[in-house]
Point group: C2
Chain length 337, copies 2
DNA sequence: CTGTTAGCGCTTTCAA
DNA sequence: TTGAAAGCGCTAACAG
């Protein structure tokens, strides 16, 4: 059995209360006692049992992070941002995976609640957020990242998807690019819907209507990107430029392109949401829209910290705040082109 | 305050012990009582407090997963494998980040111990494992993944790095490739050292000595890959083929190649350890050595489960087991070349 | 089959 | 400044 506060108390010949005070840096304790107790703690290699502490204090200093996919650079970079900011507050993070399923999302949330996390950061797996209401019912502070959830109103941090896309396409149209294809994800999800909005808005401003045969929608994974690019390129009159709605679609689409270079119209221009490792190595010039991924996480953590602090103080919680972070255009050149 | 077992007991007009038995599926309880209690639980929306449960039972059914980097596809895919296998055992996972620092590694491990995890899976951040001994001292079941740690003997799951590399290079030499450059990572870490061994062994078998001017070592990140490829390509007599020791170095090296296509010797052949999303989209034919990444995680979880079960039963723990999973060669063609 | 009770390790009044 | 003691929510003897 591990060393407990009792062992320390006995050896130091003080009460457990005193040891507890030393551990918690309580001011009203004599320097000599403190030093003595610390010495014993050191000697016994005592470590607090945060389980017992939490049971008493009803706080765990732990927040849950729930993402639809765990082996996903985007979400894990967000998680990194969350952690960066959490550490400064003495908080830790439990990462869970909802596997893009609302059911599993609920399962994981119940787990997190069982573990008595002080708050939760979620990238929702579905557009509908009814099932998230268990959180508000439990009064658990929550912040959404990347996506909003219909019917579930709470703090959120995401980027300005529409404006980011709009600016990119607008820029390209001004530079003479035209005849755009669109590769999109699940349109029920905030990011994909908004990116499509930005896309059409930019075209509209140039008096261009979206050609429906040049629009492909699917899920947002690599294979879909491949398939949709294939479909576009196999058209009798393929688009001369393509906008791709996220990183994974971009990978898939690029895979198609590099494997079928001879069948690709020369000068095909690719613009894509998200700028990550890959964006530079395709050997294909293009434009990407970079999200401040780390900041999404760290801002979400800050908002959550505020909510948790307010709740601990028994304060009334204010209205939901939705923060939109700006995106940034990144131009990828090849061989100085 | 949340609903507790007491509230349920009161409303159901039974003792807390009975409620506890219902929750834990204790057999010796009448169907009527069980049904009644479950109804009340439902009605009150009661959720067990696993904090209290753990305090009592001294088990958390939680394991820690500690990786040197959290926004890293490789480690997070391992984590995914761990989770896949854990769920079947009713276990959960806390993911922590050691930031490639032994100090932070210790910090996080102490956190995990504070949280009373039942076991730990670690991808060590450094070659030296002295600091990991806090785990064995605490008797905490531990499994290493991807790398071994000097001075810390315990279960581990990793791939056969040397053989994998050997086979790849051997294959290429047989196919007439030659004049290999080597881009490596931190040679104090198991994987990089072993990959180098495999590399030299294959060359030696063909009577070729490694040309030291064609060997570059650094850390294992994207930027290093870029830099080392640059150095090799700027040599008066650059290598005709290059072996790259991991995925991130591969990305960096490829970035250099695509940005400087005109300065790259035609027909430059690239072989690389790790096969991931990007390996297909570089537009560069090549050979990669794929690790069974998910399996590394799931095997590690299985080994850990065994250790935990043994410990819970008070059994003697056997000697450390090091499992080596096989790698697989993947050929990347472009345009049917 | 069910209830009583002690106690997991810690914090926190209340008293001294 | 320190200690005694109650209790956080749950489980597990033990008794009935």
């Amino acid at each position: 059995m591990a060393i407990t506060i009792k062992d320390v108390a006995k050896l130091a010949d003080v009460s457990t209360a005193t040891v507890s005070r030393v551990i918690n840096n309580d001011a009203r304790i004599s320097e000599t006692t403190r030093a003595h107790v610390l010495e014993v703690i050191e000697k016994l290699n005592y470590k607090v049992n945060s389980i017992a502490r939490s049971l008493k204090s009803n706080r765990t200093f732990t927040v849950g992070f729930l993402a639809p996919e765990i082996a996903n650079d985007f979400f894990m970079t967000v998680a990194q941002g969350v952690e960066n900011s959490l550490r400064g507050h003495g908080y830790n993070m439990i990462i869970c995976n909802s596997n893009e399923s609302a059911d599993e999302e609920v399962e994981r949330l119940e787990l997190l609640m069982e573990k008595c996390v002080d708050g939760v950061i979620i990238a929702p797996s579905t557009a509908n957020g009814e099932h998230l209401k268990i959180l508000s019912r439990a009064g658990l502070p929550t912040v959404l990242v990347d996506r909003l959830a219909d019917g579930f109103d709470c703090d959120a941090v995401l980027v300005d998807n529409a404006t980011g896309t709009y600016k990119a396409i607008h820029h390209l149209l001004k530079r003479g690019k035209s005849d755009f294809g669109f590769i999109g994800g699940d349109m029920s999800l905030t990011p994909f819907r908004e990116r499509y909005e930005g896309f059409t808005r930019a075209l509209a401003e140039f008096g261009i209507e979206v050609d429906p045969s040049h629009v492909r929608l699917g899920d947002f994974h690599v294979d879909s990107g491949y398939r949709m690019m294939k479909e576009l390129m196999e058209l009798k009159r393929p688009p001369a430029s393509v906008f791709i709605s996220n990183y994974f679609l971009h990978i898939g689409a690029t895979r198609y392109v590099v494997q079928h270079r001879n069948r690709i119209p020369p000068g095909l221009f690719i613009a894509s949401f998200d700028d990550m490792e890959l964006s530079d190595v395709t050997g294909h010039p293009g434009l990407t829209i970079a999200q401040p991924v780390l900041q999404i996480g760290s801002r979400a953590a800050e908002l959550l910290m505020e909510r948790i602090a307010a709740r601990a103080q028994g304060e009334e919680s204010g209205p939901p705040r939705v923060e939109r972070l700006p995106t940034r255009l990144v131009f990828h050149q090849v061989n100085g082109e």
